[in-house]
């Protein structure tokens, strides 16, 4: 294995593995969408009582 290939296996600097980091990014996206959906609904009033 070349030096470059070994470096490619370098784990994320904060520990854990890459797949855990990817899963966290997906979770983060879902939370953002849920927050924005709530934000839209909470701030768009209906004109009918």
């Amino acid at each position: 294995m070349t030096k470059r290939e070994i470096r490619s296996e370098e784990p994320p600097p904060l520990g854990g593995d890459w797949f855990t980091l990817y899963a966290l990014v997906v979770l983060y996206l879902l939370v953002l969408i849920a927050l924005f959906a709530w934000f839209t609904q909470a701030n768009t009033p209906e004109a009918t009582p």
Partner: protein
Amino acid sequence: MSAWDWAVLASWLSFTILYGLYRSRGKQTTQSYLLAGKTMPWYAMGLSIMATQASAITFISTTGQAYVDGMRFVQFYFGLPLAMIILSMTAVPLFHRANVYTAYEFLEQRFDRRTRILVSIVFLIQRGLGAGLALYAPAVVLSVVLGWPEQVTTLFMGLLVIAYTTLGGVKAVTWSDVQQMLLIFAGLILALVLAVVRLPEEIGLLDAVALAGAAGRLNAVVTKFDWNDRYNLWSGLFGGMFLALAYFGTDQSQVQRYLTGRSIAQSRLSLLFNAMAKIPMQFFILFIGTMVFVFFVFERPPLLFQPADLKNLEREPAYSSVVRRFDEAHQVRRESARAYLEARKRHDPAGQTKALRTYRQAQASLDQARAEAARLLGAGPDTNYIFLNFVIRYMPVGVVGLIVAVIFAAAMSTISGEVNSLATVTVMDVYRPLVKSGATDSHYLWASRGATIFWGLYAVAFAGFGGRLGSLIEAVNIVGSLFYGGMLGVFVLAFFFRFVGAQGAFWGVLAGEAAIFYCWRFTSISFLWYNVIGCLVVIAVGCLLSLTRLRRSSAV
């Protein structure tokens, strides 16, 4: 602008250029000039990727987009984190291991030279048009601020960028981007704070949010699916993901940023940093636009935000009747806004409903009057002038210079990245394989500098068309979407379909581009879907042709 504003702007411009050049000092080779010697840390690449993507258009046009259409544009970025993950798993390690200067060089290793050159030319056309548009946006700024012709300001900006990009290469571009992105973050926070502070004393942030929401400006998520609707959750997630895959995976202006990384891990982190930061940043910028909207609920906005159009309108015979209706609608909107807030405080649902109806009707009348004024002149949308108008008329001395510097910073970081990547592709994918192979390193270094100057001047020339394209942020994305689907398709074939050969890839790209141009000319399908359609056509045609060839050869 006051003398203080000029001092702030001039200091910033000098500092950022000198800083970029300082960081790129030392003996240069082609590799250090085009790939920074593969020494960049993840945070510099991450900020540079963001800075290249966040152009002046982002500030000028996105805030205006929120003013007229609300925040639903943020959904456009929902697919970006997914794309960043896919690219971290595929493109980043493949490009790094192939040890290439450009993404298209990888296509020659995988398919053949013809496919590499075809895709390089598609990139040069597409990104060349984009660079022109990115240069036009700050020209709008200076023409409004100084009253200079847009051609003069375009040339001024273009020459500045050409100077430091040509001298310093990708290192100067990346380190200038880092500074520029930090200024952009600071400028954004300041712009939001001042937009809220400038509201009438009795209107707090929560009241402003309520008024923006009542006018339908806080529509950050639209779940209803519609093929023809540009921005909804589904077009953002799927169309946006394909666009981001194409942009970050196949556009050399982005690929070059993470090819400068010192390892695969550093390049991956730079993309994931972008995945986390981009959506909140866009949300923030759009939110500033909605606060500007609320500000103009209480302060009379101009009938048209483009000053030259407004002057011409004043000479029209119908002007007085349009402006009278506009003023009446503004007054009704202001009073109903106050009535709505008071009813909310009293917890009076009937009062809220009544005020809300009046408020929305007044808003519709205002929009109608503005549309009629634009129709009288045959003028395009004035979205790009809204935020600038607010900054110049209502921001304090010094801050105007800082916000203008932010817009310049954003513009310069985008254009420098684009010009740098255009030069790289021209030399590495066209000049070296087709015109002069086997020359010395110093020859290619000088060829890269020459190509940088050429593309900078090309962008200046093309910027002249920017004003005819309406909302710039949409124009940029539409131009991108016409080409990205085809480019993405060929890289998907390269990464995931091992049986597909050079013939399939080459004709697949051509078929994909034909499908996209057909959709653009003859259907009303929203542009975000072009990337999906183009990509799928490339894959389908590439696979079909390759399977047919495989069957024929096995039959023989």
